[in-house]
């Protein structure tokens, strides 16, 4: 087991190194990092030269990549291109906010999806099952950004017609959020709509998955054995069926982490939340390759760690799976 984990981690380091070099080369070859500089009027030749010197833009790409790796490892991912602002402190701040948003949304989504999926499977082809199927198809066909906008439109329309302020439609906190419990309530109030939007796609896909997995388990021999023993139906589905049907969900949730971050990019942009997604979009808009590189490396690391945890958990939950 330990050797498996070590081997996986070593392989991940190689993948990360390859990915970082490819992205760095791609960004350096296809983009002109000085393009943003040239827009600024009356820029002195001296300050222009300063930027070039600081980021070693005169050197060939492999050398620049070497400097980047040095900064990434020893110097908190270095600084931004123009403002010379340290990258990692900013990234930490937005990461905490995003993880808060994503984890809350994911946890709620799993709970709701389990409820829907299990009920659908227990009453296959019932009205509830058909409704759940239709709604999940709708959820998967709805663009995240549009759903977010429609909720904003709804809140604004309600406010204009009744004067009722249902939920804030932008930012993570009010201007003066207070402290302690007041801060927490204010934050929760601001997160309602973003969490709701992020949940929709997850609930739609997880509930389909749980339903299928539950149906598969329902037909297995040990379920028949459990019934034959005379166990009450409730105990059969929950203790014997449900717990086994849940195992594949571990993998699915971990593998969805990347697409969840994609959702965060869109949701944070629409609701102007100070999270990783908005940070990334702003870095792209500023045409600054350094925060973009740092962002991609941090998320790639998170995805690798999540996948590893999922694999280990899977082996632990399902003894038939063994790693060597």
């Amino acid at each position: 087991m330990l050797s498996y984990v070590v081997r996986r981690l070593l392989y991940s380091v190689v993948v990360l190194a390859a990915a970082s070099f490819l992205v760095f080369t791609f960004v350096s070859v296809s983009g002109d990092p000085l393009a943003e500089l040239n827009i600024i009027p009356n820029l002195s030749e001296q300050s222009r030269q300063n930027v070039i010197d600081r980021k070693h833009l005169d050197d060939p790409i492999p050398v620049r990549y070497g400097y980047w790796v040095r900064d990434a490892v020893t110097n908190q991912f270095g600084t931004t291109l123009l403002g010379d602002r340290p990258i990692l402190p900013d990234l930490w701040r937005v990461m905490k906010n995003t993880l808060q948003l994503v984890l809350v949304a994911e946890l709620l989504a799993i709970l709701v999806a389990i409820g829907i999926g299990v009920s659908s499977a227990r009453r296959q082809y019932s009205a509830f099952d058909y409704t759940a199927t239709t709604v999940s198809f709708l959820g998967l066909a709805t663009p995240v950004f549009w759903l977010a906008l429609m909720l904003q439109v709804l809140v604004v329309q309600v406010y204009e017609h009744t004067g009722l302020k249902l939920f804030p439609i932008a930012s993570l906190n009010s201007i003066d959020p207070g402290t302690g419990i007041h801060f927490a309530i204010d934050r929760a109030h601001h997160l309602v709509l973003p969490v709701l939007v992020l949940m929709v796609a997850s609930v739609a896909s997880y509930s389909r998955y749980i339903r299928a997995s539950m149906l598969e388990v329902m037909g297995s021999d040990y379920m028949r054995t459990a019934r034959a023993k005379g166990l009450p139906e409730r105990q059969v589905t929950m203790r014997h069926g449900f717990r086994n049907a849940l195992i594949p969900l571990v993998t699915l949730v971990a593998l969805s982490f990347g697409s969840l971050l994609g959702g965060a990019i869109v949701v944070e942009t629409v609701f102007s939340l100070d999270g990783m997604g908005l940070y990334f979009v702003n870095a792209l808009r500023a045409n600054d390759p350094y925060p973009v590189m740092a962002w991609l490396m941090v998320t790639a690391t998170m995805i690798i760690v999540f996948n590893l945890i999922a694999d280990i958990a899977y082996g632990y939950l399902d003894p038939r799976v063994r790693y060597e």
Binding site: S12, L138, F145, V153, V156, Q157, G258, I265, F280, L284
Partner: protein
């Protein structure tokens, strides 16, 4: 199996899929090809058929947008600015602050977005099938390379990679956006085809073809590929829905298709820029995206049931 499929393809083109057989028992039976069964099973799936019809209609609207649209894509009309949806003057989807008709704009948007989606699905399926087939059949270096590349792709969040690529490759052009999307999407197709080929390779009919002296190319194209067509077609269909949603998100964020090209995602973001009082500007382009993605998914679902009768589900 494979000969069934290829003869079916011939039958379909010649227009006589059903060949009556005389059994002499008085019972008239028909020999049906695999494709005829697929078609019959698909037609039985009412929701999928209805979705296909809606999709074709939307597609026609897109193709004939220049002829059908009551107004030009970028044609301002200050007398008619900020109209909520109305039958008057055919402003069914309302107008924006410049008086541009959103029904017309959405029609042009469908044209571009649908074209990009089908282009992406076709290109990534073609690339993915070719590389997946080679990787699955030879399973040597190609296979290794493919798997490592997929590992690489799975390590980074897809949307982030797309955004980065479209920023640095200079976006705005539908063709470029389509190429970027296809470049990210083909690996998934390749993985699926590789898996199918790995299992088909061990089948007796492949061994028989090899023993008969068929070349590798012939075995791949004539014997193995026809047996994978079902899953490939289903996946390609689902890719259309994925492509239209991702392209919309890219265009919405401002990194996808840019004016003067119309795109549904871009229309939503332009509507957002005009303020939430003009709710119709955000609502209708988005609704069209949902409708297209929903129909494509239903068609894909119907095709899956049609190609794989063992997984058939009873439907309302």
């Amino acid at each position: 199996m494979s000969d069934d499929a290829s003869s079916a393809a011939r039958d379909l083109t010649s227009g006589s899929p059903d060949v009556p057989l005389a059994y002499g028992s008085g019972v008239e039976m028909k020999a049906r090809s695999q494709w005829a069964y697929v078609r019959i099973r698909f037609l039985r799936h009412r929701l999928a058929v209805a979705s296909l019809i809606v999709l074709v209609l939307i597609g026609l609207v897109g193709v004939f947008a220049p002829q059908l649209a009551p107004y030009g894509y970028d044609q301002p009309n200050y007398d008619n600015a900020v109209q909520s949806p109305t039958l008057e003057g055919w402003h069914l989807f309302g107008t924006d602050q410049l008086g541009r008709d959103y029904l017309s704009r959405v029609m042009y948007g469908i044209r571009t977005s649908l074209w990009v989606a089908f282009f992406v699905a076709f290109l990534s399926t073609a690339i993915g099938t070719t590389i997946g087939a080679l990787a699955g059949y030879y399973s040597g270096h190609v296979d290794n390379l493919l798997m490592r590349l997929t590992d690489l792709m799975l390590t980074l969040p897809g949307l982030a990679v797309l955004l980065t690529a479209s920023v640095y490759l200079g976006s705005g052009d539908p063709l470029k956006i389509g190429l970027i999307l296809a470049f990210l999407f083909w690996t998934a197709v390749a993985r699926i085809v590789r898996g199918l080929f790995l299992s088909l390779r061990e089948k007796e009919f492949v061994e028989a073809a090899k023993a008969a002296g068929a070349s590798d190319l012939r075995i791949i194209v004539r014997h193995m590929l026809p047996n994978c067509l079902g899953p490939i077609i289903v996946y390609a269909t689902l890719l259309v829905a994925a492509a239209i949603l991702v392209e919309a998100a890219l265009s919405f964020l401002g990194f996808g298709i840019q004016p003067p090209n119309a795109a549904l995602g871009k229309l939503v973001s332009e509507g957002q820029g005009e303020g939430f009082d003009l709710w119709w500007l955000v609502t209708f382009p988005g609704l069209v995206i949902v409708l297209i993605a929903l129909c494509v998914n239903f068609v894909g679902d119907g095709l899956r049931d049609a190609f794989d009768p063992t997984q058939r589900r009873i439907r309302a």
